[in-house]
Structures are given as structure tokens and as C-alpha cells.
Homo-oligomer: 336 residues x 3
């Protein structure tokens, strides 16, 4: 596909500086782009690449226009502009309807526009809406609902009773609705507690490769509309995640925790069970959240890397940190 | 299924306060339960829901009886009572024997009561005992033994030589017996070391979705009876885990480490290789265990979240923590 | 297979002390080895097992020869010796060419020596070189290249366009080339950014079970020759990993980060996006790397476990660490 710069400027709502008829067929980084390609500058870390870029055009903020050697599209949020250009140039592939001959289907409630790949299992009483794509090796249990235009890429497992909304994307290896970690101690032995809830996932939810979302123990685990989850995230039973929250890779969220709307949770953060995080909270990478967070804002607890020598000395002090505090208190009393 | 309160009281060994003939058909939370349902109070965090509960009956401790507006079953451990009620009302589904026509079976040692789903591979010289369930897409290698009543839900991979005991549950995406991370450095390049051990898993072991347990380098990785493991846990080669230890999600345990009986390991904890942890150790979430633990007790090292401003200032001090200690030592000398 | 000690000494380039005709058929640990088996001592933690070993021979350093009660093979790096003995005694199994009748193949470019197992999907325009093994349940998309002698054990997913070099090993549940976590915020909602790059993996790369490597947003995610990656590692879009770097389990590496050659990254470390780590860096387990590392060396930030009482007191001080520093500054001024 080829678009003129004018068409692109209009599509992404940017101000055009340069040749409106310049033809664009691809998007690439400032460093790698060449003639016929558009790029963007949204992180000043990459500003040095702007001056020497071979792109035909660059999407950038007004403040960077002065450094741009080529055509420019100016807007407040160039990253959003890049997203919209990429979506224009690389639209979703069209689903070809049909059920692969090797698939093993036990439900009659599958829309004729649905595409089901090889070695897929679909259980009984499961409803699959229009334009759904179910890639190779997916295992869809009984009593499941999948909304329009949702795509399960490959080897996705949906356990019985799970509901997925419209326009969802579930990447390979995702497991939705496996039993939560429910065990009760009976004289030193663990007794499994049946997990009788399920999982409800809203519309426009994307879930990354090998991420797991457990079914509720009682009641459902709920992931609301517009939530975006990266790879290898673990979401425990009866967790609630509010609309448009984004969760980076390797995060773990323990059971029965409620997370608000529009939160951003950084990579490898860990969130305890049975707590509540309000709307609009940002949690930085590798942070441990042990208690409820009641005010919007940015939170962190990660400790950044040091050279190992310094680290060892600091740890030695850290092990007696409260004692250090006591010693300072003693000095303070003396010095009065 | 419907049970009277008297039947339930007897089953879970609780003291009945209220109508023995009250009929119970379901279990639910204090907040959501309605007529015909039983609930429980085991965490005082939820005490405020007790007073307004619409449940027909509640399992609770004697001390909470005064606040209970409905029939009550009193016992020391209401959570165990809940577990037993849930198990009574939601017994395991019965396995229907049979091998799906699409399965690819190379072994003759499969008990006639076994259920094998679509697209399952079973290698040669593999023994599968009575009432085992092997769900869709599971891949069972050669020379494997699976004990009675064990269930592999879906897409579980068992590599050659693995042994699984009775009544186990392996959730989707579990991989048992993949090669451990064994590499030797040969002049700057890594040489793979054949992993010639295997994995032995005892009876009554549950393993969560996408968890991995590596085969031994030499000798076996061993998971003893009654161990419960949550999702996305990584267990390295030649690890030993003692009876009735419970491991929460996202934990990593490095190679050749030995963990005792009845330990509880919190979410996202990391345990180094070649160390030993005695019986009855509790490790809190996000703790790093670098050295052997020789005494039972509770251990932790996680740093709880702070608002980012405070965090930044604390980190700035932390980077020079040993220097702070030295400065205090100097002050102490002066003040003598 | 049986080898004489002389043959083994020659093969691993060690100095023989003892009977050259002693026959060796297996390798095992010092603790478990018996007659006909060879063992090794590379970690002094296990020195106490040397004196009572029942092995027929032990590979060790010259300094430990005095404590060895049996035949010995002396060399600088006994662990490398062990690796080479294990490789001699346990060579790779030979691949039997053939495509399983249940496989679903859409490409003509598959070498006749390739082995493809049951329920495998291979997309169109995909090239699979000589002696490649593709185990049960693997899903290979369109436009993929797999080099000679590479092995995909089971349930591996390669998304469209991915390139894998020669002699690679991909363990069960690996997902290569799923979409990176690319989202742009549009007035509080997240807009998915098409991930139009791919993944290029060099020669001699091993990737552990359930590890995920995302495709590039623009340009490729690149894993260079000889890189070894353990289980459950997450590698974000456009990451570059240099030759012969080793990455232990549960590590997360965020997008666009560049890691040098011969680095060693400990378990559960987390590495931020858009940073650069030079060659020959060692990062200890559970370390958080938020900024670029410009000098080779060892880096750490993990906090080791303490008993919970001490931990609670230290955390209480830590929350006000900068204030403690200010108090010491005040004392220092006073004491001048």
C-alpha cells in the first residue's frame, strides 16, 4: 500500500511541513528508514538519529522541527501518530472462513465466518461469534463464549465456562481459566479447593504469549475492556482489572486483588493478594506491592544495580539498618 | 446436589447453630451468597460482609458467631470447612474411558479406564494407570509412568522417562522433564551438557499452568508427595522439594537446591542453586534466598512499594549506605 | 557405550592418574557413582563426597588429587571435562527422517532428512534444512527458515517470518515471534501498534521451556550465535543479545535493549528497555538493571533473605532512609 504524505497527515491528524505528494509505503526507525519510508521521534534518546535520517518524512513534535532534514508531520504525540500510520500501512489480515478438516468440534454454535485451524478442539455448548480466528492447536473447552473478531493465535487454552469479548487477541501459549491456587491446610497436608468460578474478559483485550489467567474460586476473575497484558504475566483467581490498564511482562498478581482503571504496571512487578489499587496508579518495574494503594500516582520499590563490590558493602549495612537508626538516635540524644 | 445443614455440619466436623434441615446447594462469598448457599468467614478483612450476608448459613469461628445474622457452622478452621463443603458440592467429574481416534499411541501399557483426548501423543514403553485423564494436545514421551487418577488437563508435555504419582493434577502448558540449564564454558563458548537424569513426582502433587520442572543433569529432580505448585513456577535440574511444601506463582528455584517439608514459598520468590532449606520454612513473596536456611521460621527480603518521590530519595541514600554507616562510626568515636 | 579411562583422558585432554584400561560406561555425581562410572569435582562444596566416592574415576583439579581415593583425570576445568565426558557417553539421538501422517504441511522446501512429528503445522514458503527435528504439536508459521540440525522438542510456536540458525534447540512451550507489547495511548485508551519486524536467531542457540521472544516492532529482535537461554525467560521486541551470552531462568528483558557478548545474566534479573549493556557483564540473580552498563564487571542489587523480624525492622528504617541520612548530616555539622 502506498499513501501520500497529505493522506497520512490527514489520517493521523498532523500538520504537514513539506511535499504533500511524497509517497510513503512503509514505516521504519529514524536509523534504518530510507526513501519512501516514514519515521517518528517520540523519545529524545533517539534525537541524534533525526539529523541524519534517510526517511522521506518524520512524525515529530513542533520543538524538533528545527532539527528535521526531511518532510515532517507535526503533532503533540508522535508515538500515537506512528501507531496510526503503522495501522494504516499494515491492516489486520483478513480471516478466511472455514474449519480445518482435522479440527475436533463439539459445538453447533459457530458463526459461518469463523476460521478454525488444524488440531483445534472445541467443546460442547460453546459459542463463537463472527470473524473469530482460532489458530492451530488451540483448545477451547465447554460452555465458552468468544466475541466477534477475536483472534487466538496458536496453542491457546480456554478452560470451560470462560467468556472472551470482542476484538481480543490471545497470543500463543495463553491459558485462561486454569484452576486458581486454592488449597486449605488440613493437619499439615494440603486439600485442594474446587475452583468453581470462571473468567470474564471484556472487549479489546490483548494477552501476551504464555500469560495465565486463573478461574475464580467463587465468582469470576474479571479483566475489563481495553486491558493490555504482556507476556508471561500471572493473574490469580478472583483478580479484577479495570478498564484500559496495561500490564508489562512477567508481572504476578495474587488472588482477589482489585486493580483500578488506566493503571500501568511495570515489568516483573509483584502484587499481593486481597488488596486494592485505585485508578490511575503507575507501578514501576520490579516493584513489590504488599498493601492497598489508595491514591493515584507513581509507586516503586525496585533497587537498581550496583557494581558488586559496592552492593556487598551496602547489603552488609542493610542487614543491620534498624540498628544503624538506633545508633543515630543515641547520637542525637547525646548531642542535644 | 443438595445437602442439609446437618449433613454438612457432620461432613466438615462443625458445630451447628440454627436449622439442621436448611437446604444448601452451593457455596459462595459472604458478599454474593443468597438463599440456599453457604459461605464462610476466615479472614477478618471480610468481617463487614458478615453482618449483611444473604447466605443461608456461614462457616465461622466461635468468636464471630455473635455477628452472624444467619445459621452458622462453628469450627476452628473455617477455611478448611469451606474447602470440604466445596469438595462435597463439587466432586471431581467422572472420567469417561476411551482413546480419541486422533490420538497417536505407541504404548500398549494403558489401562482400559484411561481417557485420552484428541491430538495426544503417547510414546513407547509408557505406563498409564487406571482412571488417568490425558486432555487434548498433551505430549507424553517414551518410558514414562503415570499413576492412578492423575489428570493432565491440556497441552501438558512430559519428556522421556518422567514419573508422575497418583492423584496428580497438571494444568495446561506444564512442561516436565525438559533439559536443565547445563552448560560449561569452553574458551568463551558454551558447551551443552547432556541432561541424563529425569523427574520423579510423588502422589497428590498439583502443578499450575505453564510451570516448568527440569530433568536432572545426573540423577533426578524430585518433587515429593503432596507438594502444591502454582502457575509459572520454574524448578531447575536436581532440585528436591519435600512433602507438602506449597509454592506460589512465579517462583524460581535454581538447580540442585533442596527444600524441606511443609515449607511455604511466597509468590515471585527466587531461590539460588546448591543451597538447602530445612523443613517448615516460610518464605515471603518476592524474597531472594541466596544462602541455606538452617532454622524453621519466616524469612523475607522484599521491599514494599513507596511513592516514587520517596523511593528516589531513599535509593540515592541506599547507593551509599555503607558510607553512611562509616560516617556514623566516625561520629560515635568523636562523641565518646 | 564403554570407553577406557585412557580414551576418555585423551578425549577431554586430561592427565591420567591410575589404570588406563579401567572401563567407564556412565557419569554420575561423587555421591551416587559406583563401579564403572566416572564423576567430577568442580565445586569445593562437594569436596567431602570425594573421599568416600565409589566412582571408578574422578575428574578434578591437581590440588584435589591428594584427596582422591580412586583413579583420577586431572585438568584445569573439571566441569568442562564432565561436559565432554557426558557428551561422549550420551551423544545426540539420531533423527529418523520422515513426516508423520497427521502433520499439516504447506511448504515444499523441506529437506528429505527432516523429521516432523504428529500434529505439526508448517506454513507456506517455509524452509527447513537437513536433519531438523520438529517434535509433536509444533506450529511453524509462514515464511520461516530453520537451519540444519536444529531441534524443536514439542509444542514450540514459531510465528511468521522467524529465522532460526543451525544446531539450535528449542524446548517445549517456546514461543518465538509473538507480537511485542506495542501500544500507544489515545485519550486514555490503548491502541495496538502492528509489530512488523521479526526475530532472527543465530547458530547454536538453546532456548528453555516456555521462554518467549517477541518479534520486533520495526526491525528485528536478534539473538546472536551461541546464546543460551534458560526456561521462562521473556525477551521483548527489538532486543539484541550478543554472542555467547547466557541467561538464566525467569529473566525479563524489556524492549529495544542491547546486551553485549559473553554476558551472564542471573535468574529472575530484570532489565529495563532502551538501555545498553556492554560485553562481559555479569548480572547477579534478582538484580534490577534500570540504566545502561558501560563497563564490564559484576553487578547486583538483590536483597538477601532475613528472618522476618529483622526484615520488618529494617524495612521500617528503609522507608525513611533519606531522612536518616539528613539526620546524620545534621549531627556531622554539629560535631565539627
Amino acid at each position: 500500500m502506498i499513501y501520500t504524505l497529505q493522506e497520512i497527515a490527514k489520517h493521523i491528524n498532523a500538520e504537514l511541513h513539506g511535499d504533500p505528494d511524497c509517497e510513503i509505503r512503509n514505516v521504519d526507525t529514524l536509523e534504518n528508514a530510507s526513501t519512501g519510508e516514514i519515521s517518528f521521534l517520540s523519545n529524545n534518546r533517539y534525537l541524534h538519529f533525526l539529523k541524519s535520517t534517510k526517511a522521506s518524512a518524520v512524525i515529530l513534535k513542533a520543538e524538533n522541527l528545527v532539527d528535521c532534514p526531511v518532510h515532517a508531520l507535526v503533532m503533540e504525540n508522535p508515538y500515537l501518530g506512528y501507531a496510526n500510520v503503522a495501522r494504516l500501512l499494515y491492516p489486520d489480515t483478513v480471516i478466511e472462513p472455514g474449519i480445518h478438516v482435522s479440527a475436533n468440534i463439539h459445538s453447533v454454535n459457530i458463526h459461518p465466518t469463523v476460521c478454525i485451524g488444524p488440531y483445534v478442539t472445541v467443546g460442547s455448548n460453546t459459542k463463537i461469534a463472527a470473524n473469530v480466528y482460532i489458530g492451530p492447536g488451540c483448545i477451547i473447552g465447554n460452555d465458552i463464549t468468544i466475541g466477534e473478531d477475536t483472534r487466538l493465535i496458536a496453542n491457546v487454552v480456554l478452560c470451560h465456562g470462560v467468556e472472551i469479548g470482542k476484538r481480543g487477541i490471545l497470543h500463543p501459549g495463553v491459558v485462561i481459566g486454569a484452576d486458581g491456587f486454592g488449597i486449605a491446610n488440613d493437619n499439615g497436608k494440603w486439600l485442594k479447593i474446587p475452583q468453581i468460578g470462571s473468567v470474564k474478559i471484556g472487549n479489546d483485550v490483548e494477552i501476551g504469549a504464555n500469560t495465565t489467567v486463573d478461574r475464580g474460586a467463587l465468582g469470576n476473575t474479571i479483566i475489563d475492556d481495553g486491558v493490555k497484558i504482556d507476556n508471561q504475566v500471572q493473574i490469580g483467581h478472583n483478580v479484577y482489572i479495570g478498564e484500559h490498564t496495561a500490564i508489562a511482562g512477567c508481572v504476578g498478581i495474587a488472588g482477589s486483588t482489585k486493580i483500578g482503571k488506566r493503571c500501568m504496571i511495570g515489568g516483573a512487578a509483584g502484587i499481593s493478594g486481597h488488596i486494592e489499587i485505585v485508578d490511575d496508579v503507575i507501578i514501576m518495574a520490579m516493584t513489590g506491592v504488599a498493601n492497598s494503594i489508595k491514591k493515584p500516582g507513581v509507586y516503586a520499590s525496585g533497587v537498581p544495580a550496583m557494581d558488586a563490590k559496592t552492593w556487598r558493602k551496602n547489603i552488609a549495612t542493610y542487614k543491620h539498618l534498624y540498628a544503624l537508626n538506633s545508633r543515630v538516635i543515641k547520637l542525637e540524644k547525646k548531642s542535644k
